[in-house]
Subunit: 418 residues, 2 copies
Amino acid sequence: MTIEHTLREIGSRAKAASTQLQLLTTDEKNAILQAMANELHEHREVIKRENAKDLAFAETAQLSKALIDRLLLDDVRIDNMIASIRRIAMLPDPVGKILHEHEKNNGLLIKKIRTPIGVIAMIYESRPNVTADVSALCLKTSNAAILRGGKEALHTNQAILELLLAAGYKTGLPHHALQLITIPDHDAVRLLIQMPEYIDLAIPRGGPSLINMVVEHARVPVIKHDKGVCHTYVDKTASLDMALNICVNAKCQRPGVCNAMESLLVHEAIAETFLPRLQAAMEAHHVTLKGDHLSRKILPRIEEATDTDWYTEYLDLILSVKIVKDVHAAIYHINHYGSHHSDAIVSEDRAAQQLFVNQVDSSAVYINASTRFTDGGEFGMGAEIGISTDKLHARGPMGLEELTTYKYIIYGQGQVRG
Amino acid sequence: MTIEHTLREIGSRAKAASTQLQLLTTDEKNAILQAMANELHEHREVIKRENAKDLAFAETAQLSKALIDRLLLDDVRIDNMIASIRRIAMLPDPVGKILHEHEKNNGLLIKKIRTPIGVIAMIYESRPNVTADVSALCLKTSNAAILRGGKEALHTNQAILELLLAAGYKTGLPHHALQLITIPDHDAVRLLIQMPEYIDLAIPRGGPSLINMVVEHARVPVIKHDKGVCHTYVDKTASLDMALNICVNAKCQRPGVCNAMESLLVHEAIAETFLPRLQAAMEAHHVTLKGDHLSRKILPRIEEATDTDWYTEYLDLILSVKIVKDVHAAIYHINHYGSHHSDAIVSEDRAAQQLFVNQVDSSAVYINASTRFTDGGEFGMGAEIGISTDKLHARGPMGLEELTTYKYIIYGQGQVRG
């Protein structure tokens, strides 16, 4: 059987499962989720054993320490994974919610209601807890899911999915509602995203090569969970103490995540005062600065930032710094080099704040706060499938509601159009 | 200058214009729209003169009567086009609307607000009033628009856009907010939809070859306005008088539109009673029937429907008929062969109705009414850019709200993440 044939079978089964999933009640879905959480809890040794295989392979293959750390599932992380499933079970079910309803003069009743999207293909890398999160979020929204995790986490992902399915099938989960693609061939993803007859949405979450491949080849709708090249702009009217505190938090509190700051833009009028203070604070946190030619006049020891730097998500203790003429130049830089994720202005000037929030084309725009707050939990969603860097359908953290679409149901008594 | 270079200039100018559009107030946008409506009214002779050129070319090229009729702009149609712009000026502005707002314990205020999408590429065929409709809808939602109409309507589209721009530039429309691509080369569309750095959304509205080309080549998000293969399913519990009336309306009231019925599914238990009555009624309206082998046992004179028929949008007085075992078979057929547009059940059975509306995967699902009601006006939107046959972001009629996205604006006083 060719890979394409296998994938078409997976797709067609997922499509059939998605119709079955629509028959489950909220209580039935929540019971399955609780059973899944119990199963992971009871068989956590299986997960750890399979995880050890992936870790051993990662050591042999000399993967980076950061990557190995992301692969690791210890008891604390397994507990978190289980807690996340239970939290999703407790959240309100968006499916079936009436978004709008009106009766026309001719007696037609038009209801706009939330429905599942259908079949979601999730293509992700590294952290194996995504397997459990995505499964739970898709089940809660009555979507069928086709999962494609990174090969470095294959054993762990398989173990998790098998436990979820074992619990699910005992408690009423439709067959093929959750499927994991284990075909090692790279073509698998390309073929998967070219099956619009089966796949309603592809969500790639990972590094640039994965994202670019999906965007280039997809014939199904895509919502990218791309990199976070996040900026802080320190305006000439900023409280410099506040700006310093925000910058240190945005850069250093957890540098390896997508909402950490990667580039700092400083108004020319305060650069001479602010940059030396910034340098001292960042050096205390072991952050390496890179700068444009103007900032290097003030901080001569730092390395030059190239055009590539402005596009780069370091995910590390590195920060690029640029001096800008005004808020307009800051907005232009952010829209041009950024990734439309999270960007902040520190300013006491209402007009500058307003220009910034109106014109910066990002999912989350902050006034006088750290970009680190962009996530589903902080935004009140309870759980998220990731952070969309696209603008269509879902933007920013994608929770349960963002995993639904809608349809119009029209109730008549024989009405025809005149 | 190569075509690609020209298109990159168009894209880059549209992107710049989209930032400028965000600065316009609702009153300013409405004033521009009213000026545009006035301009079309005052210079309607220019439109008719340029339209005559397109019509003459269409006659010479021996285009179909239906196509020539769709090209034609007479005074009534020009009046409608003008009225549509004035109606859009009167509708509420969705941009800036607060969708959700909450304050966190730490004092952060998180607002989710509607924003423009950015740059919309609209690729359409035939009817030149789309040029005015799309321009007005995009301006009202502060989106920049790149228009690519059919070459058969080129003179008319150019005349309309020039009048809109003449009025717009006098009243504050940012330059390059509306651009029409007149490059005859077919590559223009393909190149346009491969510029994610400039184009936020492509909307193809037209025949299968246009839709397929866009889906195959796009690297930007796409919302398809594809064909309408709409069904009516007549259940065994249906009132047959009501069913007949609905079927005749759905097929005959305006057969050339996307929400007209193309296929009829009849429950086997009532086929022998219903089909002869249907045939008589349809023949009175000059409708040609085609049928599966079971329905041809009841109506032996009709032609056989092939597998291709079930996928076909006739846009003509032709109807394919199939006998099905039950509501499940009807649902399967609709999801498999349909285009997820508009589908109806005629039934007095609550359980069958419920199954049908839950499981039919279409933008509009009707109980005991004609599919002909699916349009923006009937659904209370005032105006629409077309009917989306996709499920992401916008489904069914796409009005002003569907031409927006959202962003989160977070107001702080120096908050950092702990």
